[in-house]
Point group: C2
Chain length 270, copies 2
């Protein structure tokens, strides 16, 4: 017998696990999303760990049926894609915005003290993704994403050198200022004294940078530069119990041919 | 005498004009924000048209006082910046998200039929900005934003050729699919049968591309390719009365040394 709707929340199409659609084989642009789901203890499935998961990614990109005929959701451009009930959305910062509101990883727009806090978290996530993720990809693909790295190696060396010498310090310096600002509040977090998804994005960026540019990051650490970003904040996220358990699990994929890549000739001290 | 608060909405810090902080001299990354403010008939001020406006931009970037000591807002990384009452935010898609919710240029999260519509508009805006704006900037700065175009001209030619031949068709093809999808609804708009800020972003991107790559766009138009994006949608936005008035006003700045630049050697047919 059904319970009266007045005493129990009506079951909705959102009472289902989250489903992440992303390439298998490397953390990539899907990883900040996984960290948000893991930190919140959300139930989710992930094509990266599903038999034939790659076909689901391809079907979306090619706009195959039934996705092409979806009356509710526009076609998606590229993974990562999040399905939740009847909702299908893409774009990493957009998925994080959606999850942040639902999983308590950003200030709620219903909050009386900080109704606009979600925009501040969104801007921090966007800036970390721009400068410490997208620009990093351009270091090994400065001319074309359609060419192999080997076919744009000379340009990659120039771009990576510029990145390590000028862009990396600029973005790390910015986040060091954010962490030292009054708006960051108490504790090691970026905004409002509480962990938000922007912290998870920054952590993932720093982790990827340590893999791709180990010499440059080690030098900055020796010189105790950007210690809040590279040390305090990074270790604080890494020590979160659910993040720690995730990083030690086999759900965490190894860096490989994704966003963050190790090429010896690009690994300069700066 | 003050009115009883129960009969009139209390005056808040948000009952003030919007204030856009952006470089003068070209439309740039500030332009989709201006289009949103103009389409909504919002009252706003703009440093691009203010005496000494550039100093306000610089003070924010350098983190000078009083911005460095702001307890409510994190430091901003780069313009465009929007101030509204005590709120200071940056990042183009983030500012558009904020304005979209306030100016009726995106579905409201309070709407019963489409509470998640704002995420669909956000993803479309993010994808247009990624592919038809940020990647365009990389065409004239593929190696470093710190070098002049003339010092990376050879790489620019390679990158621009790849952009026009492979990336431009990919992104235009995507938006053509979106405009033809069931989710776009009635009329020429991207989502839900109504103009949203994503339409203004796409319009501005196409307008900039027509300036930067006139030969390539003219060829596509002769061949009647991507006619929804390049013709129907573009003309529908351009014909909106407030947009039309804005484009004809001296508030609309000319293309120059910003995001969209004309270099004869990059202007290929594809």
């Amino acid at each position: 017998m059904a319970s009266p709707v007045s005493t129990k929340r009506a079951r909705t199409s959102k009472d289902v696990p989250y489903h992440l659609i992303y390439w298998p084989g490397f953390p990539g642009r899907g990883e900040p999303i996984r960290l948000a789901l893991e930190e919140a203890g959300a139930i989710y499935t992930d094509t990266a760990h599903a038999e034939g998961g790659v076909n689901e990614v391809l079907a979306h990109i090619k706009g195959e049926q039934p996705f092409a005929d979806d009356a509710a959701n526009p076609p998606v451009f590229a993974p990562p894609i999040l399905k939740h009930g009847e909702l299908t959305i893409n774009q990493t910062p957009n998925i994080l915005l959606y999850l942040g509101a639902r999983l308590g990883l950003a200030p709620s727009s219903d909050s009386e003290e900080d109704p606009d806090g979600s925009y501040k978290v969104n801007e921090l996530a966007l800036t970390a993704l721009d400068g410490l993720s997208n620009e990093v990809h351009d270091c090994h693909h400065p001319i074309s994403v359609n060419l192999y790295y080997e076919d744009q190696k000379a340009e990659s060396k120039k771009r990576a050198e510029d990145y390590v010498k000028t862009r990396l310090p600029k973005f790390l310096g910015y986040f060091e200022r954010v962490l030292g600002s009054r708006a960051s509040g108490e504790g090691p977090w970026l905004y409002g004294g509480q962990l938000t998804y922007a912290d998870l994005v920054l952590f993932q960026c720093v982790d990827g940078l340590k893999f791709m540019f180990p010499k440059a990051i080690a030098k900055l650490q020796r010189e105790e530069k950007y210690a809040k970003v590279l040390q305090e904040h990074y270790e604080a996220v890494k020590a979160r119990p659910k993040i720690k358990a995730y990083l030690e699990s086999d759900r965490r994929q190894k860096y490989s041919n994704g966003m963050y890549r190790y090429y010896e000739e690009l690994d300069i001290e700066g």
